[in-house]
């Protein structure tokens, strides 16, 4: 600028400054608003996801309670539900899993496999799945059997090294999202001797291609057993699969042999290693750790006896002093010698003496979750022995010291698969998930230093950027399922680790469309989904909500203030959702801060329920618990025929009713 700047141009410069500030202020406010919305949406999805997991655990504790407190003679149903291997004993396993008599029809156009598998066959499998082909059940069973054989000779903790300048790639949760796995292979290359991989659990559930992901991972495992490492996740659990979609997927894709495949997978899951250690310095496992984590103990445990985190290991009846191995390896044969007729599971959790019927009736499901893992974890040693003593007088268990030892090991494994980090020091039960714990930076320090480790890599939690560091960068969460909650919700990521053991993170997002969306569009789309879910919840609680609204509307005008609306909704739903923040999206018509709740419900209804035969309240209740009901249905429907048991004891809903009720929702 030359000399003699005129007053008017000086004035103009000042005005520009002010204008710029104003615009910046306004825009930052806009971005903040979007961020708030994005966070809310995220929290909604997460709380509903975890509430689902919690429900799952509550459900199983409830059924476990029934198991323990009803004698076999009085409830065939309960026994039937938990009857595990009575169908398959001894030599029946061989016949059951045999694939040899499964014929491949001529019209089959999918991939053919010959064993031992080669690298090109594994790559061919990836290509076939990319082209939406399905592997024939004969090959599926054959591949799974080979996988089972291999997994059984692997240790609990894989030990890997980056010698020969090998870079190791580590992937987190995939959850049946084949597109993400394909994207990773595209960007990073497929597994090979030069390209070792660690897959850190949760391969299945939720996404629609879980079985394809498993088959690919297992194929590469078979071809490169020293260079592909699989860690078990909390979803590698047949009971969790009942609820979260994997069971459904397999039965849908393999109508004839699905059940067999699932049974074999149940065994395979239990044989998946628990963790991987790289160069003695980096620990990779799915969930996390706790203050009880003892790696040397975990290295020795019989991991395959822990079939599901929601059920304690089986015990061989008659063996007094030690718990038996599920010895399914005899004479090099994979025929399993299943412990015959295990009637009652050891009650992992129920330390109290036999409760009376009256007690039971007054308990809500909530109560049972309090008895899961916390009492065991918190009880100091001497109290635990006391509890054991009580049990022994009731003659529930044949071997108590083994039982508590066994329970402690189960706890450790559950911790490994279900825990989440928190920012405060300490170690507290993970009430949100219903299993595992929250562990703090002090526990990280403790476990890492005790085992001479420098980094913990884990997965289990969805992160917006696909990864997140915490605990002073000693813990790294890696999540590989992009767009997990909804299109545009998050990126996926994977890690590459060279001999320097410095993690390099590569992010991606499947579906090119999402990369071009602006912040506004991404947030909007995800929010739309989340709000749909919230609206469903509101609808499902209509009667209770109406009652709550009426408390604020004594004169029965049909109108209440928005403040009262927010208070009533939180009081009924207890979802911890920021109602006032979302208010404008959920209650669009509210002139002068007042809303008409009756017309609001009408607008909210997704579709008018058919109330002809079913009472409104029942419909709501069913709708609310449909997920749980579906799971129960699937358990009871053990022959997967769609028909529940013929005889209908009081505890179950009969086949016809269940089907028709479920179909209406």
């Amino acid at each position: 600028m030359g000399c003699g700047v005129s007053k008017s141009s000086q004035f103009h410069v000042q005005r520009c400054e002010k204008a710029a500030v104003l615009i910046q202020m306004w825009y930052r406010k806009y971005v903040a608003r979007m961020e708030m919305r994005r966070r809310c949406t995220w929290n909604i999805f997460q709380s509903i996801e975890y509430a689902g997991e919690q429900d799952q655990i509550k459900l199983y504790n409830f059924l476990g309670y029934l198991m323990d407190h009803f004698t076999p003679s009085s409830s065939n149903l309960i026994c039937h539900i938990f009857r595990e291997n009575e169908v398959c004993r001894d030599a029946e396993w061989e016949r059951y899993f045999c694939y040899k008599n499964i014929e491949i029809p001529e019209v089959y156009s999918g991939p053919h496999l010959t064993f031992p598998l080669t690298a090109s066959q594994a790559a061919g499998l990836v290509e076939s799945f990319k082209n939406k082909q399905q592997l024939h059940s004969r090959y599926v069973l054959q591949l799974l059997l080979e996988t089972w054989k291999l997994l059984r000779i692997l240790p609990n903790i894989n030990r890997v090294s980056t010698c020969h300048s090998k870079e190791i790639s580590i992937c987190g949760d995939l959850h049946g999202q084949l597109e993400d796995l394909l994207l990773i292979f595209y960007k990073n290359g497929m597994p090979s001797m030069e390209k070792p991989y660690v897959f850190n659990g949760d391969f299945v559930d939720r996404g629609k291609d879980s079985i394809e992901i498993l088959l690919i991972l297992f194929a590469f495992l078979l071809v490169y057993p020293s260079d592909v490492h699989l860690n078990r996740g909390n979803h590698e659990d047949h009971i969790v699969n009942l609820r979260y979609g994997f069971t459904k997927e397999v039965l849908g894709k393999y109508r004839v042999h699905g059940k067999r495949i699932l049974k074999l997978l149940q065994k395979i899951f239990s044989w998946l290693p628990l963790a991987t250690v790289i160069d003695h310095k980096v620990l990779v496992l799915h969930g996390g750790i706790s203050d009880a984590t003892d790696l040397s103990l975990l290295a020795k445990v019989d991991r395959h006896r822990y079939v599901s985190a929601l059920r304690p290991p089986k015990k061989k009846p008659g063996s007094e002093d030690q718990l038996s191995m599920d010895s399914d390896m005899e004479d090099d044969s994979w025929i399993s010698r299943v412990s015959a007729g295990t009637r009652r599971r050891a009650s992992l959790t129920y330390m109290k003496p036999f409760a009376s019927r009256n007690d039971f009736q007054h308990r809500s499901l909530q109560d049972f979750s309090r008895h899961i893992i916390r009492p065991l974890r918190e009880e100091p040693k001497d109290r635990r022995r006391q509890a054991e003593f009580t049990l022994s007088t009731l003659g529930h268990l044949s071997s108590l010291s083994a039982h508590s030892h066994c329970a402690a090991l189960l706890l450790q494994i559950v911790d490994l698969l279900w825990s989440d980090p928190m920012s405060q020091d300490g170690c507290i039960p993970n009430e949100v998930r219903g299993g595992g714990c929250y562990w703090g930076p002090d526990v990280t320090e403790q476990v890492l230093s005790k085992n001479h480790l420098q980094l913990l890599i884990r997965s289990h939690e969805c992160k917006q950027e696909g990864y997140e560091f915490c605990h002073s960068r000693k813990v790294l969460t890696i999540f590989s399922a992009s767009n997990y909650y909804e299109v545009g919700s998050n990126r996926g990521a994977y890690i590459t680790l060279g001999p320097d053991l410095i993690p390099h993170l590569i992010q991606y997002q499947a579906s090119s469309m999402t990369r071009e969306l602006t912040l506004t569009q991404r947030v909007g789309w995800t929010e739309h989904s989340a709000l749909k879910v919230v609206r469903e919840q509101l609808f499902a609680h209509r009667s209770d909500l109406t009652g709550a609204f009426q408390e604020f509307d004594k004169e029965n005008t049909g109108m209440i203030s928005l403040n009262d609306w927010a208070r009533a909704v939180e009081a009924v739903l207890h979802l911890g959702i920021p109602w006032r923040v979302l208010r404008s999206q959920l209650v669009p018509n509210a002139p002068d801060g007042m809303m008409n709740y009756r017309s609001w419900f009408r607008e909210l209804a997704i579709k008018e329920p058919d109330t002809e035969h079913i009472h409104q309240a029942l419909l709501e209740t069913v709708y609310r618990h449909r997920s749980t009901l579906e799971t129960i249905f699937r358990i009871v429907d053990t022959d997967h025929s769609g028909k529940a048991l013929g005889h209908a004891p009081a505890a179950t809903v009969s086949r016809v009713q269940t089907r028709s009720v479920l179909s209406r929702v």
């Binding site: 306004w26 971005v31 903040a32 208070r567 006032r580 923040v581 404008s584």
Partner: protein, 160 residues
């Protein structure tokens, strides 16, 4: 009567603040990362400038900053801000006028480069990320310009 109303208003404000705070309080530890405080304040309907924001943060921080802001300290400070209606929202027409100041030739739009220059050099400058995000949302793809009147309409919210 007035006292009752005032109390009711304050308790409703408290609830709004608590809700917004809790969205970022993932572990129910009654504290949030200091970097999220700006978002929380803005989402409650306030338009502080960066300078005003830093002032407020200094007010609610611990004596020895921990990187976290506790709810106990945040609540009274934020209540005051809302009661006094500090950092009022910018009315739409004022905003448009601001754009018009920058649009010297009164074209009705701003070139991408123009806006970028102002946003990153004047006032309380945007970071590279901020300006790119703004442009990606604001740009009319066909013509590579920003029609600021439309932009303002699109991005203005009704406040609670």
């Amino acid at each position: 009567m007035e006292e009752e109303n005032k109390e009711a208003v304050i308790s409703e404000i408290h609830r709004r603040i608590a809700e917004a705070f809790n969205v970022f309080d993932n572990e129910s530890s009654k504290s949030v990362d200091v970097r999220e405080v700006g978002t929380i304040i803005r989402s409650l309907g306030c338009f502080p400038s960066e300078a005003e924001l830093h002032e407020m943060i200094a007010e609610v921080e611990e004596e020895e900053p921990t990187g976290y802001i506790r709810f106990e300290k945040f609540l009274p400070a934020m209540t005051k801000v809302l009661m006094e209606r500090k950092f009022r929202p910018i009315p739409k027409d004022v905003l448009i006028q601001a754009f018009e100041v920058l649009d010297q030739e009164k074209k009705g739009y701003l070139e991408a480069e123009e806006l970028k220059k102002y946003m990153t050099q004047e006032g309380e400058p945007f970071s590279q990320d901020e300006v790119e995000e703004m442009l990606s949302a604001a740009l009319d793809n066909k013509e590579n310009v920003i029609f600021y009147k439309d932009l303002v309409s699109k991005m203005t919210f009704e406040d609670l």
